[in-house]
Symmetry: C2
Subunit: 366 residues, 2 copies
């Protein structure tokens, strides 16, 4: 993986860059659609290509359970299995297994857990996660980390962080495929000193990029910015920074202004299936009665496949439970997110980040 | 609408033709995908265009209830409402309202019924059905008929047929839009003499095409062919013949060999959502365990969007309830049906219908 920084904003820490992997090249700041189970929900690969998505996410936890690594391995990896030619980032499985609450047992070697589907027993530690992600063949591999909940006792956070650091080194020592890059994940909860310690420790390991993990797990929105502020100065300037699981357009621009380059979130896809559309006129609940006879397009300022259809038609489809309605809103939402990132990159290049930020706050107050 | 016959088979009554409407031109025999509620389930218009669908169906009953004629009228008709530029055939609503059993009351003027959604009262007769279909702006409009169940008393069938004939004339007398064609519907249940009487009576009215209705409602498969055999000789040769709601590939070829030109059926779309794929290797239950590690394409003899994906991947998508799986199988099934019709037309042109029929019976015994 090659990361090049092309522009740095004068008024903030925002920066534009370029990532090249074996499978695709894309500009940063970038938003990565989530394809948890080898599919970005409701969309075909072709529809993803139409909106110019160059990198998507896959989830280790879900894929190891179904279809399982035997199948994906024999298919020749995740790219071949799902027919996706551009880049893939996979998470480590850590976030999901640590969320299993009563179904898991944490040891220093990893996590023993039971599948949420059939109760079968599995073990995931740094080596297991790397082995799976090597089989998946993802372009960007995430180190296996412990993602602690919010709120969380300081003592526990500290020991989880120490474990995460040891695991990070074990992941770095693992022999991935030549084309695979590995990102470390900064933890430390909401304690500034732990975050600084984690960022410094991981910076000492030669990762290809650095993620800020353990956010967007229930903490107040203002805390997220504070932690990004604390962490970024302690990460290498020449490596991409990835804020995992974030967020709203406002969350994203605020993190970009603090020096973050990469994002992923289920919000645009999940909310689409509830009838919430992200548009350049703000968030719209397309199921609302008032759109029943609104024959204008969902977003007059966006040009995507969905643009040719009226709000009245899309509302009708959702109202009668037609699957095509979910697809159309998902296309809109992801096209909006990618267009939002594009305009954000332009604002960085043109030195208009502050103005763009005002606009985004107007449209997306939260 | 213009209908031209280009080839007639020597060994059967099969024929090739060409229909031109205001919105599209297409060859016959033709299969029309069903888009009940202004959407062919799980597919976008663009995916329908990819498989070369030139005419789809809409359902009057469903559309009059949701979104309602006020909305579709203000949108400028069904084509504009759903953004579909090719032809549309709409049914009369008769089939659905007569299926409502306890929710409807039949009079000589039409049917009083309650919505299956909210219990609201509605009335549908020949004039109401024409008014709705004029608003929908469909290229092919179906006359309002009474579709009787199977089995049914002869006395009842006879009076229903007489009603259907009177309604047929009322529909013909209605002032449709200039571009709209009107088809009459032959009824008469499973009684040869009633079917002949109905075909003759309707042939005396100058319809643009003739449908055979009241089949595929539970009668034995052999009866369907018998009735088509009885009816076709009494219909005009120079008008298209449409067997409503049919059917399997074998049903279709058997009807084509008896002189039928047009078909519609929910089978390819509905079965797709159950995991049943129609392919040139026969019907496949793609959810079956044995496809879990089958990395070959769903149908090696068909070239459609789905062809690039493996059975293992499609099975995985259905297995984990990913909507994209439904879309991929629906594309396969409709692409197969349209390819099947194309090969059937070629067989008619090349005089190889008998051989093609043998092949189809081998793949689709029922």
């Amino acid at each position: 993986m090659k990361f090049t920084i092309s522009n740095v904003d004068n008024s903030s820490k925002a920066r534009c860059g370029f990532i090249e992997t074996k499978h695709s090249s894309f500009e940063t700041p970038v938003f990565m659609p989530v394809g948890t189970r080898a599919s970005v929900k409701t969309m075909t690969n072709s529809q993803l290509e139409d909106i110019d998505a160059k990198i998507i996410l896959g989830n280790t936890y879900h894929l190891m359970l179904r279809p399982g690594m035997d199948i994906i391995g024999r298919a020749g990896g995740l790219h071949k299995f799902m027919g996706w030619d551009s880049s893939i980032l996979t998470d480590s499985g850590g976030y999901q297994v640590f969320s299993l609450a009563n179904l898991r047992k944490i040891t220093d070697g990893g996590v023993q857990f039971r599948s949420h589907i059939d109760g079968s027993r599995h073990f995931l530690g740094p080596v297991e996660s790397m082995t799976i992600q090597r089989t998946l063949g993802s372009d960007i591999v995430m180190a296996f980390d412990e993602c602690s909940p919010y709120p969380c006792e300081r003592d526990y956070l500290e020991s989880a962080m120490v474990r995460t650091h040891r695991w990070a080194q074990e992941c770095r020592d693992y022999d991935l495929s030549g084309h695979q890059s590995l990102f470390g994940i900064v933890q430390g909860g909401t304690y500034d000193d732990l975050r600084v310690e984690s960022a410094r420790y991981l910076s000492g390991i030669d990762f290809d990029g650095y993620a800020i993990g353990g956010l967007s797990v229930g903490e107040p929105a203002s805390l997220m910015n504070d932690i990004v502020d604390v962490v970024v100065p302690h990460l290498p300037d020449d490596k991409p920074r990835y804020l995992m699981g974030v967020g709203t357009p406002r969350n994203i621009i605020e993190a970009v202004m603090r020096g973050v380059d990469m994002f992923d979130c289920v919000m645009p896809t999940r909310n689409a299936r509830n009838g919430t559309a992200f548009t350049w006129s703000g968030k719209i609940n397309i199921k609302a009665r008032r759109y029943a006879d609104d024959f204008t397009s969902l977003d007059s300022q966006l040009d995507c496949y969905t643009s040719q259809f009226s709000k009245a038609y899309i509302r009708h489809l959702l109202n009668v439970d037609e699957i095509a309605g979910l697809t159309l809103v998902t296309i809109q939402n992801l096209a909006f997110y990618l267009d939002f990132m594009k305009q954000l990159r332009q604002a960085i290049r043109f030195g208009t980040v502050a103005e763009f930020y005002e606009k985004v706050c107007g449209l997306y107050p939260k």
